[in-house]
Subunit: 193 residues, 4 copies
Amino acid sequence: MTDTPRTRADDRTEAIRRTTLELAQEIGYAKLSIEGVAARAGVGKHTIYRRWPSKGALFLDAVLSPQQPDLDYPDTGDVMADLRTQIHHAVDLLGRPPFGPLFQSLIGEAQHNPAVAAELNERFAKPQEAKTVARLTKAREQGQLAPEFDLDLAMSILTGPLFFTLMVTQEPVTHEYVDRVLEALFAGMRPRP
Amino acid sequence: MTDTPRTRADDRTEAIRRTTLELAQEIGYAKLSIEGVAARAGVGKHTIYRRWPSKGALFLDAVLSPQQPDLDYPDTGDVMADLRTQIHHAVDLLGRPPFGPLFQSLIGEAQHNPAVAAELNERFAKPQEAKTVARLTKAREQGQLAPEFDLDLAMSILTGPLFFTLMVTQEPVTHEYVDRVLEALFAGMRPRP
Amino acid sequence: MTDTPRTRADDRTEAIRRTTLELAQEIGYAKLSIEGVAARAGVGKHTIYRRWPSKGALFLDAVLSPQQPDLDYPDTGDVMADLRTQIHHAVDLLGRPPFGPLFQSLIGEAQHNPAVAAELNERFAKPQEAKTVARLTKAREQGQLAPEFDLDLAMSILTGPLFFTLMVTQEPVTHEYVDRVLEALFAGMRPRP
Amino acid sequence: MTDTPRTRADDRTEAIRRTTLELAQEIGYAKLSIEGVAARAGVGKHTIYRRWPSKGALFLDAVLSPQQPDLDYPDTGDVMADLRTQIHHAVDLLGRPPFGPLFQSLIGEAQHNPAVAAELNERFAKPQEAKTVARLTKAREQGQLAPEFDLDLAMSILTGPLFFTLMVTQEPVTHEYVDRVLEALFAGMRPRP
DNA sequence: TATTAAACGAGACGGTACGTCGCGTCTTGGT
DNA sequence: ACCAAGACGCGACGTACCGTCTCGTTTAATA
């Protein structure tokens, strides 16, 4: 019966994260400031700097802490269908408010700040990759995937197109679009004999 | 016999762009400031603000102006080989100093600044897509591509994995890695009958 | 039959002076700018700089040109009454809008700008002093003034108190107040035997 | 046993005042800038703006703080002699470097800035007037002054001429000139019977 | 009358300073 | 002893004018 003792420090940490998210959603990451978060949270700036080294780190923690965003894989036995379902979820979460813009800013920040990039990788990309690889491994064992398919490339190939659209062309991504991408990836570009 | 009249204004614009690139390479985009560019270029701040609305816009223009980065497609008749060559070039340009870090920052900035995102699209993504689609169209006509292959997806599928690696996982991208991705894309994930 | 030929240059000069006065009355001397005058007058900045070396000089000219402010002395034969009348006029002109604030700013500017001070002296103070001395000389000859009264001091003594009130204490100056000052100056501080 | 605790804030305030005076004496009030004071004092601009609302207010405080300029009245029993002495002191202080130019600029600034005018009055003109009136009251009681002499006018009449000369004609003021003015004020302009 | 030089409007330009904002560090005072 | 509150040095922001400097375009006086 171990209850989590919820220290005062924990409460404050949580409050700061919550305020950060609120503010970021209201005014955007670019206009977010530690000064503003401290004021809104009723907290001294020192209390923030004691916990996070930079605005980027605070933001990343605020965005990734609340929930490990639910991007787990279903397993219905049909890998193509499961991938489809999962990527639809991903698109819904990452491509739409309220989470979408936060996530977009987070990746933007990672381009300027290596520490943020590293932590983003550790806390988001790698776990996600692990899940993907696990699901694909199973699929391959069941013969639903080409046996020579290179699992190291899984994330790049499956998620890369999605990110490209979200971040470079910045067009809205629909389920239908995702389906077309998935279909193309499965079929391959090479003409069938 | 059209001579380019090279007005004084043009010269200054060029000088500012050049200085911006220099400074960005020395200290990085994050520490770049309009004040700093103005000082180094021996130019009043207003002269910069008269031309570009923000640091991001200036930086984008400085990065994209010098040369339309040479990412044209060769055409040897073998589309797979040509794609390989072109993507190798892209990786060499976008993934390595001096251009790589600049480009990375540029995409990062686009996540915070819609105007930069739009111009990045207009001046970089769309022209590149047009070239890619043109090359693939030809290949499809010659039967080197599955006839049902969806060309609208071309950029996402071909370039997406590359961007994902450069920007999310931020691992170095080798020619060998690109080759494996390309091979997978061509073959498809589906097991061969 | 000399008509004044009113060249275009003269017209422009006049237009700039007029605009300067207008603007000064609207926004105050402190916020007045040559840039603003040029824009309002529909005139290039050069055209102003060609005529006046500084904002102060322009302002002085604009304030003092329109009319030699009518501060002439009446001569009814009674010097005390005439001084009274004249100083009432002076107070009405210098102590009240629209001219009062302009004049106040002008003297303020003269404290920072020697050229303005010199011209203010030449065009305002000295002529005024000449008139005063002339009137007092006549009065002394007619025995209405102590024969040993030192005319060099006339301006300081007669006008000084007025300026002090207008510029240092900046209280409103009434005719009644002026009368009391004049009476005191005439009577002297020394007790009568 | 009250010791003055000399907080850090007090020290900084004093340092800024001192620097302001220094700079003003070196380059003049017109070229003085808050930026310059901050740089010289090794202080952030905000630290100045937190204390004074404008360059004028800072300057006034810097000029008037160091010492209540010693313009007290002696009391030898002879009011005429005492006034003479005091006004000589005033002329020496206000009409000569280093204090003279500062004071002149201060009054100039008061013409543009009502807040400065008000504080100048409060901290300089009114206290000075109080002293003058006190001394004259005593003199009147002792019969050295015309019993009907209007003490409300004292400052205007005694100091006005001095200010007029210092600020409008801007001629140097000598002790001898002051003496002549004083003599005239005592005697009055009216011819003796 | 046609030519030409000057004056002109417009406004770009290198500067300086403005007053504001937020950074990350350091003090202070209250609980 | 910790913490909110916020002062502090600093650096950059974006703006406003300064006084100088091209630009074409009138305008008027000369050839």
